[in-house]
């Protein structure tokens, strides 16, 4: 089946098995191994990506569902050379330990901050409650997302 979609800003038209899991395509075909798989059954959130700006679990999506969509992975959000403010905040605030949940957390945070530029800690906690982390106890993740929100707000003010 031919599927047209946008991946990290790049328009793609590929011939694929429509029943293939999106996480497998991203990791094994597209080389985007920042998308992690922790359970394969939608329980852990490590494979979270944004589909048209909405956080989705790529282990529960099939290739056919990508038709006409815009897909963003953690690699598309920013890079070590040019990190997104959320990624920089995760690194700066100690929100990363083993780092396996981090890409999914970052994407969940990106969805949140696009909708709510000034979330309370409680709101942040709710937004990442579908993403399991076994290392941090979440405190520094909440710190990082809150700090990223403030940073993004300051950047917006500067532009005004």
């Amino acid at each position: 089946m031919i599927v047209d979609f946008v991946l990290n800003g790049k328009r793609l038209r590929i011939d694929c098995d429509p029943g293939r899991r999106v996480v497998d395509y991203l990791r094994e075909e597209a080389g985007l191994t920042g998308v992690k798989e922790g359970c394969g059954t939608g329980e852990c959130g490590a494979c979270t990506v944004l589909v048209d700006g909405v956080a989705k679990l790529s282990c529960l999506m099939l290739m056919a569902q990508l038709a006409g969509r815009e897909l963003l992975t953690v690699e598309g959000l920013g890079s070590v050379e040019s990190p997104h403010p959320i990624q920089a905040a995760f690194a700066g605030h100690g929100a990363v330990q083993c780092g396996f949940c981090t890409p999914g957390m970052v994407m969940a945070a990106a969805e949140l901050l696009a909708a709510d530029p000034d979330p309370s800690r409680e709101t942040v906690r709710r937004a990442i409650s579908g993403n399991l982390c076994r290392c941090t106890g979440y405190v520094k993740i909440v710190d990082a997302i809150t700090a990223a929100a403030h940073g993004l707000n300051e950047a917006r003010k500067d532009k005004d």
Partner: protein, 779 residues
Amino acid sequence: MSFQRQAPPGTGQDRSLIGRDIPRADALAKACGSERFAIDLYPEGLLWAGAKRAGVPHARINSLRLDAALRVPGVIDILTRADVPGSNRQGIVHKDQPVLCGSKVRHGGDPVALVLAETRQALESALVLIEMDLTPLPGVFDAASALAKGAPLVHEENEGGNILLHAVIAAGEGKKVLRRCPVRVRGSFIVPMQEHAFLETQNGVARLRPDGTLDMTVSTQAPFRDRFEIASALGLDPGRIRIRAPYLGGGFGGKDGATVQCLLALAALKAGGRPVKMVWEREESILAGYKRHAARLHYELGAGRDGRLAALTCRIYYDTGAYAHLGGEIMELGMEHAGGPYRIPNTHIEGFCVYTNNPVAGAFRGFGVAQTSFAIERMVDALAAKLDMDPLQLRLQNALRPGDLNCSGVRLEDEFGFAGCLEAIAGHPHWTGRGQWTKAARPFTRRGVGLACAANAMGYGRGLPDAAVAKLELTGQGRFRVYNAVADMGQGNAATFCQIAAEELGQELRDVELVQPDTLLCHPSGSSSASRTTYTFGNALIKACAAMRDKLFARAALFLLKDELAGLALLPGRVRDTQTGREVALTRMAAMLPRDDRVCVSEFLMPVVADPPATGRAFRLGFPHRFFSYAAHLCGVEVDELTGKVTLLRSLTAVEGGQVVNPQCFEQQVQGASAQGAGYALFEDFKVDQGRILAKDLSTYLIPTALDLPDLEVIAVAGDEPTGPHGLKGIGEVGLHGPLPAIASAVQMAVGAHLGEGPITPERAYAAAKRPRGKGGRK
């Protein structure tokens, strides 16, 4: 947090890197998704390997029918016991765990066949089509039935029947003094298994190179030991096995010891030189992975009427499941901590580590100490209630202090600050204001505040040298490369090594680079475990840095035409003669020096207890320990009267672990341990019925989410360990032990009933609240 200190002399730095919040070197690449974990490797032309698991807890294997599975297109081969060269036995101390089971299976996760296939789909299809002809055997599913006369044997050849290890630690005259104690409390406690639930499941890739080297990249905590385990099990030369250990997506002990290693190596031997990948799916990870030991503990604690602890006797039973792993050593550490961080002069601590047909128990952060911490802390609470004493004051009165004997009869010669942890809690508003806070409970809820303490040993203990060898290179580009030889499973030791090297060498952090553990490039430095990683390797690294500094001064003298080395300083990117102001760039020196001359290798061996007590004779290695970190933990909970649901509203941990090298990393470790401890206390009900796991995935085995935990608060209590790198002790584990007993204590305060079994599920809390009052505390 910040602890400013002087930079080391001769580095020319005006500001020390030690004691500062330094963002971890690995953090940004992980946040951007560019760090490659073992699971992210998909070598060209790879084959997939997977194990057929028994699915029944105890059975005789009559035969396997492979023909249907072999007919699946894309299946290359299916291996069974007959295909395993070597001993077919894995195990760190006791080699009792088959790579592939041939005659019988001892737990549901035992592998009986190994499939090698072109695709994952072919692998999955073949695994389903393997038919096993098994004769079920009666099993044993808890320590009591395993010890019963005539019980079915898990390992028929084991001399002790189902007993892996029976041991006693005694100090003074525990039983005798206890009988004479005017005040005694008694209790029995039960804790379940706990699942590591690291997010990156067990996995690796392996390839047999044309020169005969088995080249493996594995998510492992012990790459150096893995070589010997694989070699022994498969009859190979350990010198021909190369293991690389990139950053792990979590470990917590569950990747210490063989997971995929031997199966993967076996598959690679049969893959005709093609790379092989093995990834355990989540359910397989839970089925076949190691667990924290389920335990039953029977305690009796005696004291004077003034609250002074006098005697402890206990009998503890650890269920090690089907195989030993480190069961005996884990129970040893639990027993060594059975008296908690208290001065109890007379003890008799007896332990049985028992085989059952349950999932295999092994290393898990805290290594046996979580279980005994629960028991002793509940006993101290019971004693405080009986004496009508303040539980914090009772603990402070009996707190171990430098120079005391601990419950194993080991004199604590080193400085430490456990009492400081208690004092930090005692002065905190969460403690002083607890009365008012508990009264502010919402309608239909009750609040309680509980306290618990813990010690956690650092290092392997006597009899197993705890050593590390650090290699440091001045690269051809004039930067410094640290060959990290202890896997970083997420705790941040690798980044701390960069920080230490930059500090010692007077360089910018960005000019220090890392090589992750690789048995070809690095030197054997032990496992990532036992709160030892940063202490042992960090010390070796400091010595390597000093050697490097001396070497660079000696070589710089040539460039700077100096007759003696006085007055030279190592500055970022250069060596400076402070007397003349002349400098030579490290890039220039690096270009002139042969590679062998740009490398320094130094080692460190952890000191041990000089004069061990004459007890614990059954322990072959790892007893006793010399260094400990300490913690005091406060929890504030709200219990829903209608449902029994316990919500953790406050968590405060005070930890003494020597000096703090990086406050951010320190908080990370304590918060992470508190969170796992809170999971152990409230949610993680590893239900097993007759050897079958009921909590088989992450929707039934619940680990805490962001909504289940409050902001976990951390206090670093001042300390200094003179033998540690920059005064540090390991603190990766000590924060785990407090939550279960502290939450049990808080719930008891809220509902007025004793809780002796974890986790404290809504059902247990509800039942406790409904029990008639006055019967709790002492059974």
